[in-house]
């Protein structure tokens, strides 16, 4: 049989590479801006579009889906072609994939600062963009499987299994976490509410980390590390075990984001157990990577690419050891909601994803441009400043997390909270926030130097858009061999591999999600919990628009330190009308679930206008635009109708009367404010958000009053 000549498509790899660098710089710059706002709120540039709550999701989406996303496609398009010895299935699909993905990112850059958000973390983009993501993901899948079908290599290397698992699992996660009922062109409500919505979100959220930030990168590691070190992967057997165990276990771990909440305790336990088990396959992968360098450690001293890989793998090992530790309830009680989690995430993002991406870029760009790297010194500088940046970022954040987590739990000998003011704990950690932004700044400088270095590399070489290659075609009919057993069969059957991967992730998904979704005893209802009034509902949507959930949780955990500070711990039945849930994942400010009735309307008005008037030293930004902007009441009827469809018990025909009630309640608040010499028209947005804040957590209080009166 004669070898066939064909050409690898390097242009698409280059395009995704450039997009990785450009979006990386943008995403990290936005990250630096939000980091500075956490000690200098005036750094919001004085307007709503660049304020923390709106652009923190822009930062996370930009680094996850734009920087890491493009890097994944760069790595996949390069390695897939070579491992399968075939050009990508369709150049047109490659182009649609590339430009479609960039358009999705641009739409995120536009809509998130404008306040169009679903509020689900890492899934903030609204429903039309969700549909676009689905379509582009399908294009990617067709292109990938098309290439697999026309391959010249019978067996699929382990990297490709990771790519297939990524494709299929992200599709499932994205679709299930995008069950939304549209209200208008860029606004929707999630189908699930409260506890159920929280479970779906964190099943998604954790597995976005697993199947977007981890599995495709492990695939890239299994391809690029052997290439870089010029030696085969340490253990192929370990890679099989690593792959199946990792995808099986990861899918169950989501509930560790919801420990001590109102999620049924069996689901919490399930999340904890599987999170701890996760350490085994994670470290299996890390060890397999590091041991691939056996006998090549001398190269690490001189080769900056391998340096990036070693630190990246070490960061992966640290983050995947820390994750299970943070899932232990006792550790989680201190670490959750604090900067500890921010440190944990960034060790993974900056170390593992960032450094692996840089290694691949430094290795790949000179090769497809048939030249040498422009400056090794600059690359070495990037490595050191990047490593320092990670340390300057992570260490202060760990310190801040421990400090604040412990301060919030400390009692005096008399049994009173030692730091009853949340703000006092925040002010204690501000120096650490300053240092963190220095660390982030160093890291960003490194990336900019890399961009310059790679741009110069590209300019001194010329792109080999179509790289010639040769390989033997596959035999048209496969002759089965006696040794074709077990995994060897799966490796040459891509669809079987995909279906098996799908089955593996669906087992965990069903056992974990279905009982909470279907068994009513898992979410006990409370008679006194009533739907939000139209004004409160509108206020809630402003709360979502402004991204308040990025800094304020709405779930009081059953600790004495929390019930003393905030009030009664949260119950599952309180959230049954919350489409979406707004429990949050970080307390930069205090929990707000029992905020209702704690302060007067005037306090909230002044606090939103300038938080430092009421809480000197606060790092919350001014929300003065809420005072000048008018509430859009044209959407009220559609919102009530949508809520009715989702099962919220508003009376039939109430949608048409809702604005009447809204005006009445707004008038009442405006009159109440006027008693404190605050003149505000009832049709302003601030009135709606005050109504919502005053409602928070009061249904239970009403219940207690009713019981006491009996």
């Amino acid at each position: 049989m004669q070898p066939e000549k064909f050409y690898y498509d390097n242009k698409i790899v280059r395009n995704f590479g450039i997009a990785t660098i450009v979006w990386g710089i943008i995403g990290m710059t936005v990250g630096l801006l939000v980091a500075i706002q956490l000690y200098k709120p005036g750094a919001n540039l004085g307007n709503q579009y660049t304020t923390f709550g709106r652009i923190r999701p822009l930062h996370t989406n930009a680094v996850i889906f734009a920087f890491v996303g493009n890097a994944i496609f760069m790595g996949v398009y390069y390695s897939l072609q070579r491992l399968l010895k075939a050009r990508m299935f369709s150049d047109v699909l490659s182009k649609i994939h590339f430009w479609g993905w960039q358009l999705i990112i641009v739409s995120a850059v536009i809509t998130l600062p404008l306040g169009f958000t679903t509020s689900h973390e890492y899934a903030e983009l609204e429903w039309p963009i969700d549909i676009a993501i689905t379509l582009i993901w399908v294009v990617f899948g067709v292109n990938m499987f098309g290439t697999i079908f026309k391959r010249r290599e019978r067996h699929l290397y382990v990297a490709i299994w990771f790519y297939i698992a990524t494709f299929v699992t992200i599709a499932v996660l994205h679709i299930v976490n995008s069950f939304e009922l549209p209200i208008s062109g860029l606004k929707s409500y999630y189908l699930f509410a409260g506890v159920q919505d929280a479970l779906v979100q964190w099943w998604y959220g954790h597995n976005a980390v697993a199947f977007f930030l981890t599995t495709p990168y492990l695939g890239m590691m299994y391809y690029f590390l052997p290439k870089m070190a010029n030696r085969p992967v340490y253990s192929y057997k370990l890679s099989i075990l690593h792959f199946w165990a990792l995808i099986f276990i990861y899918i169950w771990a989501g509930p560790h984001h919801l420990l001590y909440t109102t999620l049924p305790s069996w689901a919490q336990s399930l999340g904890v157990v599987f999170s701890i088990m996760l350490i085994a396959p994670s470290w299996g992968g890390m060890i397999n990577g590091l041991l691939t360098l056996r006998g090549a450690w001398d190269k690490v001293r001189d080769d900056v690419v391998l340096k990036f890989m070693v630190v990246g793998l070490t960061a992966y090992g640290m983050a995947t050891f820390e994750g299970p530790m943070l899932s232990l309830k006792q550790v989680n009680a201190i670490g959750h909601f604090t900067d500890w989690i921010v440190a944990h995430v960034h060790v993974g993002a900056l170390g593992w994803n960032g450094f692996l991406t840089f290694a691949v870029l430094y290795w790949l760009i000179p090769r497809i441009y048939k030249t040498n790297l422009y400056s090794k010194k600059m690359a070495a500088f990037h490595f050191w400043i990047g490593t320092l940046g990670i340390l300057f970022y992570a260490i202060p954040m760990y310190w801040a997390g421990f400090t604040q987590g412990l301060m919030l739990k400390e009692f005096t000998a008399e049994g009173m909270l030692k730091y009853p003011s949340f703000l006092e704990t925040t002010m204690r950690i501000l120096p650490m926030h300053v240092m963190r932004s220095v660390g982030g700044g160093l890291y960003l400088v490194g990336v900019i130097v890399m961009a310059y270095n790679l741009a110069k590399t590209m300019l001194q070489g010329s792109l080999v858009s179509n790289e010639a290659a040769e390989a033997l075609p596959l035999e048209p009919v496969y002759v089965k061999q006696n040794t074709d057993i077990w995994h060897k069969v799966i490796e040459r059957k891509p669809i079987r591999l995909m279906v098996l991967s799908l089955l593996v992730i669906l087992i965990g998904t069903f056992i974990e999600l279905m009982p909470t979704m279907t068994i009513s005893s898992n979410v006990p209802t409370i008679a006194s919990v009533k739907p939000y009034t139209p004004l409160e509902l509108q206020g809630r949507d402003i709360y979502i628009r402004e991204g308040c959930v990025n800094c304020h949780s709405q779930t009081v955990r059953p600790f004495r330190s929390e019930t003393e500070r905030y009030g009664d711990y949260s119950k599952a039945g309180e959230f049954v009308y919350d489409h979406p849930f707004l429990w949050g994942s970080k307390r930069t400010g205090p929990d707000l679930h029992r905020e209702g009735g704690k302060y007067g309307n005037a306090w909230h008005y002044n606090h939103l206008m300038d938080p430092r008037l009421m809480s000197p030293g606060s790092i919350m930004p001014n929300y003065d635009w809420l005072i000048s902007q008018e509430l859009d009441t044209t959407t009220t009827a559609a919102k009530i109708d949508a809520m009715r469809k989702l099962g919220v018990p508003y009376a039939a025909g109430y949608a048409q009367k809702a604005n009447g009630d809204l005006d009445k309640q707004a008038q009442g608040i405006a009159e109440n404010l006027s008693k404190d010499h605050i003149k505000v028209k009832p049709n302003k947005e601030i009135v709606a958000i005050i109504a919502y804040l005053q409602r928070l957590g009061t249904d239970i209080k009403a219940n207690k009053t009713a019981n006491n009166n009996q």
Binding site: H155, A159, Y222, P232, P264
Partner: protein, 62 residues
Amino acid sequence: MFKQFTENISGNQVYLITSLAIFLLFFIVVSIMLIRSRKDHNDYMSDMPLHDSFVKPDTTLS
């Protein structure tokens, strides 16, 4: 022994035990696959990234 397990499982703990049992079974199946895999095939697979372009006929297994 199993009677002791089943009698002591209360309420929703059945989900937890079932999940662990499913994983154990899955893990055993994968382990058997690994034990039964052949060394020459494993070597061939692990060398794959190092052979980008031309494949020598004597290194192809199928």
